[in-house]
């Protein structure tokens, strides 16, 4: 809380410093507050780095000369049961993060491709749950009545569900097919009520605010009020909820892959790598540590960024 006064002070100076009187838009204010926070900058740097790694995975593969599915028998010692040759799990100029014990696949490239899978699933699931959650939450909160009853009971039902057990059961029962798409669907089915519940509450309070009443009194149509008056005021909440949802889905995806019901091998995924590494942790801890560190950093960075966004959006009255 100690940073709050200093931010406010900076804010007023910035306002006074605008000679032309240009209004500091809410977006500019939030950006300013993020720029002055080392934690937010660090987390954005980490997220951008991991996103770049995921996007550029094929390029990195070309640079290092290793393919995520390519075995390297020369990097492992078959006499020792396939342990990587060299210190720290076989870290070398050839294999930057070492190789997987047993088959010698390059860990760096598999982590990069694993980031692709993890981020793709998490971001898609976030987009789907945020869209469904905002639409249904706004319908429930704005129109109330029967619509609210139906949507709220479905949300109660889904939230009371033992989600993880059901996901495991569902994913093992369904045909393998396109696993990432299946994961997005399953994560979305159980994820949207958490967004919708918060949006519903905020919509209900915004619907009763005086500016909505004023809009009604000036002859605005209901849909216009919902989209032009209420929705823009939810954007802060939506941004924060979405940012905080991403690490949740990354973690769940990794957990499901760890349990063997997520992304199917040989497609690389962080959870799956950690799962395989469990058998080797005594002799090759690096195999466990590297994907674990990436998973931790990603989840941590998204969570810190989400918290900073929430704080930045909360401080101003124009949030």
């Amino acid at each position: 809380m100690t940073t709050v006064p200093s931010e406010l002070a900076v804010e007023t100076e910035a306002k006074g410093a605008l000679p032309s009187g240009g209004a500091p838009t809410p977006a500019r204010r939030v950006l300013h507050s993020l720029r002055t926070s080392p934690g937010a900058i660090a987390s954005i740097v980490i997220i951008v780095a991991i996103a770049l790694m995921a996007i550029l995975a094929p390029v990195l593969s070309a640079i290092t000369g290793w393919d995520p599915y390519e075995f390297d028998p020369t990097a492992i010692d078959s006499d020792l049961g396939g342990l990587p040759i060299g210190p720290l799990g076989g870290v070398s100029a050839e294999h930057w993060f070492g190789v997987e014990p047993g088959n010698g696949r390059d860990i760096f490239i598999r982590v990069a491709y694993g980031a692709q899978v993890s981020l793709l699933i998490a971001v898609s699931a976030t987009l789907v749950t945020t869209t469904i959650g905002v639409v249904l939450g706004m319908i429930a909160g704005y129109f109330g009545g029967i619509a609210d009853q139906v949507i709220s009971r479905v949300m109660d039902f889904l939230m009371a569900f033992p989600t993880l057990i059901f996901m495991i059961a569902l994913l093992s029962a369904l045909p393998a097919g396109n696993r990432p798409a299946l994961l997005v669907i399953v994560l979305s089915i159980f994820g949207w009520p958490y967004t919708a519940r918060i949006i519903r509450g905020q919509t209900m309070s915004l619907r009763n605010s005086e500016f909505v009443e004023a809009a009604r009194a000036s002859g605005a149509k209901p849909l216009r009020i919902a989209f032009r008056e209420v929705l823009p005021n939810l954007r802060g909440t939506i941004i924060v909820l979405a940012t905080l949802a991403v690490p949740g889905y990354i973690g769940t995806e990794a957990g499901l892959s760890f349990l063997g019901v997520g992304v199917t091998p040989p497609t690389p995924s962080w959870g799956q790598m950690i799962s395989t590494a469990v058998g080797w942790y005594a002799v090759d801890p690096m195999y466990f540590l590297i994907p674990g560190t990436f998973l931790f950093l990603t989840v941590f960075a998204f969570t810190v960024l989400g918290d900073h966004l929430r704080k930045a959006l909360d401080t101003g009255d124009a949030a």
Binding site: A217, S218, G219, A318
Partner: protein, 287 residues
């Protein structure tokens, strides 16, 4: 432009009809123990260029009366009786028809200026949007009208201020912006629901003066809802006193303040603190 023409036809006055005439208006809400009537048999009229003050304690039904006129009763509320704007009945019209009247023919100014502007938009966007929704026209034309309206409510430097956000204005300025929004469509009637209650006394005086000036310029009729007798005595030509949904007394301001007939009105007037009697005990009103 069909919206505009429809709104105009409704306001072609029936010959001899007053601006607003409300007869036997009752408002009720369904509750688990049967309908609860919050306004019973209220009747009043407002002529062009005059102001009607509706006074009463909270819960007396004064706000519900004004919402019924606008057709904006909360969910479940029903209004019976008659509300006529220039002789045209408003009760029983569809929401679609009423939307053309709201803002255009009847505008409303709310109690809390801090929350009646959307914090997300600049005030210019909010004023021009309401204007264009009813009158159409280009953004530039609407902006010109908005700047003029801001000028009329005495916002200094309106060319620049129009692009500011609500949080950059003080409470009194925000209320003036709300009034600018109300007058830029040149409505026939402005309903002010406790417009000065959230403001301090000096700002309150400025707003009241401003409203009186605007009324002199445009001949707009006004309904002024308040619990503050001092405000009523200052702005109103006629006064309607309400209590628990009932009309207690109706008359000219002078008559109500100098010769109140109803005991409740007398009690209300007696409860006003007097500046010239330092030893008096404050009197309450028997609820």
């Amino acid at each position: 432009m069909s919206i505009t023409s429809a709104a105009r036809t409704i306001s072609i006055p029936v010959v001899g009809a007053p601006l607003l005439e409300v007869e036997h208006l009752s408002v009720s809400f369904p509750t688990s123990s049967g309908p609860a009537t919050v306004v019973r048999d209220a009747s009043f009229r407002v002529d062009q260029g005059t102001t009607l003050g509706i006074v009463g304690e909270s819960g007396s039904g004064k706000s519900m009366t004004s919402l019924a006129v606008m057709g904006l009763l909360p969910r479940g509320g029903t209004a019976t009786g008659s509300v006529r704007l220039f002789g045209h009945e408003l009760l029983g019209r569809t929401d679609r028809e009423l939307r053309r009247i709201r803002g255009d023919r009847i505008a409303m100014v709310f109690q809390d200026p801090l929350s009646s502007l959307n914090p997300y938009y600049t005030i210019g966007v909010q004023i021009t949007e309401a204007y264009r929704a009813h009158r159409g026209g280009s953004q530039a034309a609407a902006r010109k009208v908005a700047i003029e309206a801001l000028e009329r409510v005495r916002i200094a430097d309106p060319d620049r201020r129009i692009d500011h956000y609500p949080h950059q204005f003080s409470g009194g300025m925000r209320q003036r912006i709300m009034i600018a929004m109300a007058i830029c469509l040149e409505p026939d009637l402005i309903i002010c629901d406790e417009p000065t209650t959230a403001l301090d006394v000096t700002v309150q005086a400025q707003i009241l003066d401003l409203l009186a000036d605007l009324q002199r310029q445009t001949g707009t009729g006004m309904v002024f809802i308040t619990h503050d007798l001092a405000v009523v005595s200052r702005v109103a030509d006629d006064v309607l006193v309400m209590k628990d949904g009932d009309e207690v007394e109706r008359g000219t301001t002078e008559q109500i303040f100098t010769a109140p007939r109803a005991p409740y009105t007398r009690a209300l007037l007696d409860a006003l603190p007097r500046i010239d009697d330092p030893f008096e005990t404050l009197k309450g009103v028997q609820a």
